[in-house]
């Protein structure tokens, strides 16, 4: 039998109605799924697909303890305790729990924060440790959430603060190594683009997921030895108290590699509390960033130049009259009375300005500091010893200083005469110490560095290769004579303070301070640079002490700090004395 709905029957009407509804559905679905396809896919993706940034861990900074790396700056995960006052129920308990567990990290005004029920976000405590956060979680407080954040931790407190620098609240390294090597320390953030569920848990469904893992920052090992650094800071602090100086710096270098073993500056600050520092100048590392007139310690450079060029020897003589005329200026000695025919060694030992001006003259025609003499001095001071040039040390904020070239009008005979004893040019301590390393190590200039190596992801220390010298400054023979000159200089005045049986030499420097364009009579900076060891120089130390309206001297004030560190280092390095 053939089934057929009769025309006009209710079944036929119902069938027609159903076809119409289905038709509407089909048209609507076609519109939604085909015509509006892209729109709804985008809408779904915005709901389901999350773009998550995978944070990279900032590299850990190590110092050395002898030859073993020790962590100096680490990362710690801490938490912010955040309340949604709109949803919190037992505010009294929240106040009690947060105060009891978070202690000093809790905000003082928790009650008022929770009372503001219109707010949906109130930070109740910051820098809460994981253990503290766990305890708060155990209390099961409604309306409380935790936000993870990372902070730098300094187990050694303010040790080497100006060398380390700090990381600001945006996670950027500032000053010191944190600033100078920020690109190496910061790592590279990863990216995760994926479909997530309502709890933001990534799911593997979907064919456009991206998972690019984060690359953690490099773990850097500094050449700073924490024991030497600590003693240098201690000796410097004692020096400041003894002399009344308000600022002091000390740098210890290995002259055979150019590695910086310690860089101490006082006053200092705590990198963990960088935000509490009132004076921004404290963040600078004056050893690399504050050029000054280093005064008589520069005589080591002038004497080296004279010997290297063959115009003088340590036993060559000149007539000292305690003053010398250059053009229209009279240059006098600070120490009077060593007059007559004296050797250049004698002039160096007594730090006579006339001796170095005479060397400058002999670099020319022997009568005047000619252009040829100035060119030679500039070549040695700048191109060889690196005065007035960036050394490339990795600490941020390095200053180049200033050495006026001889072709400038200001680069005249008077200036170069002054430069021969350390006035009229601005240099940094790291420049002078690096140059001095080359003067006593046989004439090889090494780039100063604070980097000893790195620690890989498995925790293995990978030391850098031994650095190669980047240029020769003077010959080995001149270097040998310079060691003798410095030893002789120290032997006359200061050898009584040294441990016996070691080779120790050094040079003082007392710089006048320029105020309003003229040298002040009320303020001076005391400096001392020297080396120590056995037959081979094992360390170079440079000290600088200064203070507003303080007349500080190299011999009286800076030298004892050198002696303190030097004697301690001889024991620390277990150098055997020659008996």
């Amino acid at each position: 039998m053939k089934l057929e709905l009769q025309k006009g029957s209710r079944s036929r009407i119902l069938a027609g109605l159903l076809f119409a509804i289905v038709g509407i559905f089909i048209i609507r679905l076609f519109y939604l799924q085909v015509i509006q396809h892209d729109y709804y896919v985008a809408l779904a993706n915005s709901e389901q697909v999350k773009l998550l940034t995978l944070p990279a861990k900032r590299g850990v900074i190590y110092a050395l303890d002898g030859s073993t790396p020790v962590q100096l700056v680490l990362n710690q995960t801490v938490y912010k305790v955040i309340a949604d006052p709109y949803t919190t129920t037992d505010d009294k308990k929240i106040v009690d729990v947060v105060r009891r567990i978070a202690g000093g990290n809790a905000r003082a005004n928790i009650e008022s924060l929770l009372d503001n029920k219109e707010s949906r976000y109130a930070i109740l405590a910051t820098k809460v440790s994981r253990a503290q956060a766990e305890k708060i979680k155990e209390e099961g407080l409604a309306g409380i959430i935790f936000r993870e954040q990372t902070q730098r931790v300094y187990p050694e407190g303010s040790l080497a603060a100006q060398t380390l620098g700090f990381v600001d609240f945006e996670g950027a390294g500032k000053y010191g190594i944190e600033g100078g090597l920020n690109d190496r320390l910061i790592g590279k953030e990863g990216l995760l683009k994926t479909v997530t569920d309502v709890s933001s848990i990534p799911l593997t469904i979907g064919d456009r997921n991206i998972n690019r893992p984060a690359v953690d920052g490099e773990n850097i090992v500094l050449s700073i030895d924490r024991n030497v650094q600590s003693h240098a800071e201690q000796a410097l602090d004692a020096g400041l108290k003894r002399t009344g100086a308000t600022q002091g710096s000390a740098i210890v270098m290995d002259p055979q590699t150019g590695k910086i073993i310690a860089m101490a500056n006082l006053p200092t600050y705590s990198p963990a509390e960088f935000n509490k520092v009132q004076d921004g100048a404290l963040f600078n590392n004056p050893i690399v960033s504050v050029p000054y007139e280093a005064a008589s310690v520069i005589k080591t450079l002038t004497l080296s130049t004279g010997i290297e060029k063959g115009v003088i020897g340590l036993n060559s003589t000149y007539v000292n009259t305690d003053s010398i005329t250059v053009d229209d200026r009279v240059i006098s000695n600070a120490t009077k009375g060593q007059t007559g025919t004296i050797t250049f060694q004698h002039g160096f030992t007594w730090s006579l300005n006339t001796s170095t001006v005479t060397i400058a003259e002999r670099l020319g025609d022997g009568q005047k500091v000619t252009r040829q003499a100035r060119d030679t001095m500039y070549d040695f001071f700048v191109n060889k010893f690196g005065m007035g040039r960036f050394t490339g040390v990795e600490v941020s904020g390095e200053a180049a200083g200033t050495v006026v070239p001889p072709e400038n009008v200001e680069g005249n005979a008077v200036r170069y005469s002054n430069m021969s004893f350390g006035q009229g040019m601005n240099v940094t301590m790291v420049q002078v110490a690096s140059a001095f390393c080359s003067i006593v190590n046989g004439g090889q200039y090494y780039k100063p560095t604070v980097i000893a190596g790195k620690v890989d992801s498995s925790g293995t220390y990978i030391p850098n290769d031994n650095p190669e010298p980047i240029r020769r400054t003077i010959s080995a023979n001149t270097s040998e004579q310079m060691r003798i000159a410095n030893q002789t200089s120290r032997a006359l005045f200061d050898a009584k303070y040294d441990l016996k049986g070691f080779t120790i030499g050094g040079k003082t420097g007392t710089s006048q301070v320029i105020e309003n364009g003229v040298y002040s009579q009320d303020e001076s900076i005391g400096s001392y640079i020297g080396f120590g060891g056995d037959d081979t120089p094992r360390y170079v130390i440079m000290i600088q002490l200064s203070g507003k309206d303080k007349k500080l001297q190299g011999e009286r004030d800076a030298m004892p700090v050198f002696t303190d560190i030097s004697n301690w280092l001889l024991d620390y390095y277990k150098i055997q004395p020659k008996m």
């Binding site: 680490l74 710690q76 848990i201 990534p202 593997t204």
Partner: protein
Amino acid sequence: MSYYQRNPEFTSRRQQNWSRNQNTVAFVSSVKLGPVAHTVLVALMITVLGLIYLTQATRATSYDYESQKIDSQIADLSTQKTDLEIENARLTALETVKKSTVAATLQAPSNTQFVGE
């Protein structure tokens, strides 16, 4: 006799041309399935296949949760490790060592002798 039942005397055309290893008898079920039954069976098969697909897809997602759980444990353990490293660094810091009771009892050597190597 059913139409499908074979008469032993019946000789099919195939049998007439049979050769070795060829079936000479065909089985025909006595159960007949109509169009409705076919439709139901197809619907059931589609449902079963759908369920299989869903279970597999859900299983992949359950692995995601498992993976997330493990990642979370790794992160937690990593944080604990870092906390322990920090504690270790604090306990072995120079200031801590200097202030320790052991350090307080140390004395400076009165005499140092050097032994040749």
